[in-house]
């Protein structure tokens, strides 16, 4: 019995099953919380929260100033997307611990770090000017029948092509 249970949990879940589960979860998020899955605004929130702790508070004209969602001095956990992001991390951690696959994977060399930083900066910048990332703009935008999701998706693929060329030339 234990063996069967472990097989269900240990073996990778098939992609098509995950596709259906993720779609269901997204629509549940929409139904029960009023908004579908998004990630990027949570990262911006974390950033602004840290900036504020360091004494910076000139947020005039910023994303949250226009759309709401950030108040100076409030806790790390007040923003919904912030909690959602932490829960996703926790869910992944739960998954690896139960299957004994957690490993503190250290960094190998500086080249990795350079590409990680460069890639992260591009993602953070791009997602914030485009109203979302692969989840907020693409995975939630397209099913919402908003054309911005498609436009984002097309150019995300375009960017992916360029990124792959860079990958194959400099990173392998």
């Amino acid at each position: 019995m234990n063996k069967i249970f472990n097989k269900v949990l240990k073996a990778p879940w098939p992609y098509w099953a995950a596709a259906i589960i993720l779609s269901l979860l997204n629509v549940f998020l929409l139904m029960f919380t009023g908004a579908p899955w998004r990630i990027t605004s949570g990262f911006l929130y974390w950033g602004m929260w840290v900036l504020e702790k360091f004494g910076y508070n000139d947020f005039a004209g910023s994303y949250f100033e226009i759309y709401g969602g950030f108040t100076a001095g409030e806790s790390f956990l007040v923003n919904t997307v912030s909690v959602l992001n932490l829960a996703v991390i926790l869910g992944a951690l739960l998954s690896v611990l139960i299957s004994s696959e957690f490993k503190w994977r250290r960094i190998k060399n500086f080249k990795q770090v350079a590409f990680a930083v460069f890639g992260g900066l591009l993602m953070g910048y791009g997602a914030n000017i485009a109203f979302g990332c692969n989840i907020g703009a693409f995975f939630s935008g397209i099913p919402s029948f908003s054309l911005h999701g498609w436009v984002f998706g097309v150019f995300m693929v375009f960017g992916g092509v360029i990124g792959s060329k860079i990958l194959m030339r400099y990173m392998v």
Partner: protein, 230 residues
């Protein structure tokens, strides 16, 4: 599909592994699960603002991790390896989500008499910010080895490199969302409304069109994988 030689090697390794004690982490996992269930219970009892967000997020992270689902790989793998199973899965997810979101929207809206701001979902205007932002994101996600969701999952798995990606992501977000945002907002966002497909061609046509396009992309992805090159 495996071979005799491989199975022999594997058996030998398995014997070697039996001698070494690898620590079982599942007790930590079950403990964490109990804590998570405890938090969820407290949230529900208090009818907290986060009572759905938290458990749904946990399930999202769990599902992503167990299935090794990766949006970055769905676009990168066809180009570098010629495999498209992930891409097909992403398209499938979009098709299923489309149907679910459609049903919700039709049930919620007062058809013929609603504002775009009332539509359930993520609706945003389009501009050069979308074009440039999407492109930058696409390049970044392949170079960083993971997208936004992938980064969260890898952080949970223990990848220190993705913690670096996360910090850089936040830095990029601050640059765009705080320091440069006025430029983007004034130039491309202010005053524009989202374009909602059913408003242009009607609800049923929108559903059919979107499913057809996605279906064609799905078929195209399957065909692409059959080509033997790369």
């Amino acid at each position: 599909m495996t071979s005799e030689r491989i199975e022999a090697l594997k058996k030998r390794r398995q014997e070697e592994m039996k001698a070494i004690k690898t620590r079982d982490q599942s007790p930590y996992g079950w403990t964490l699960l109990i804590i998570v269930l405890g938090i969820v219970s407290v949230l529900f009892i208090n009818q907290s603002h986060y009572m759905w967000v938290f458990p749904l997020g946990i399930l999202l992270g769990f599902t992503l991790e167990r299935s090794r689902f990766c949006f970055t790989a769905s676009i990168r793998n066809p180009l570098t390896l010629g495999t498209t199973k992930l891409l097909q899965a992403v398209i499938l997810a979009l098709m299923v989500s489309t149907v679910f979101f459609f049903i919700l929207q039709v049930l919620t809206l007062d058809i013929g008499n609603f504002l775009i701001s009332e539509v359930p979902g993520t609706l945003r205007p389009i501009g050069w910010n979308t074009v440039i932002g999407g492109s930058l994101f696409g390049v970044g996600m392949v170079i960083a080895g993971g997208c936004a969701s992938g980064t969260l999952v890898r952080v949970g798995e223990g990848f220190t490199l993705q913690m670096v990606v996360l910090m850089a992501f936040i830095a990029g977000a601050l640059l765009a969302g705080v320091f440069h945002y006025s430029f983007w907002y004034d130039s491309f966002i202010e005053g524009r409304e989202a374009i909602y497909l059913p408003n242009i061609i009607g609800f049923i046509p929108a559903l059919l069109l979107q499913l057809t396009v996605l279906g064609l992309l799905y078929a195209g992805a399957r065909k692409f994988a059959k080509r033997k090159n790369i």
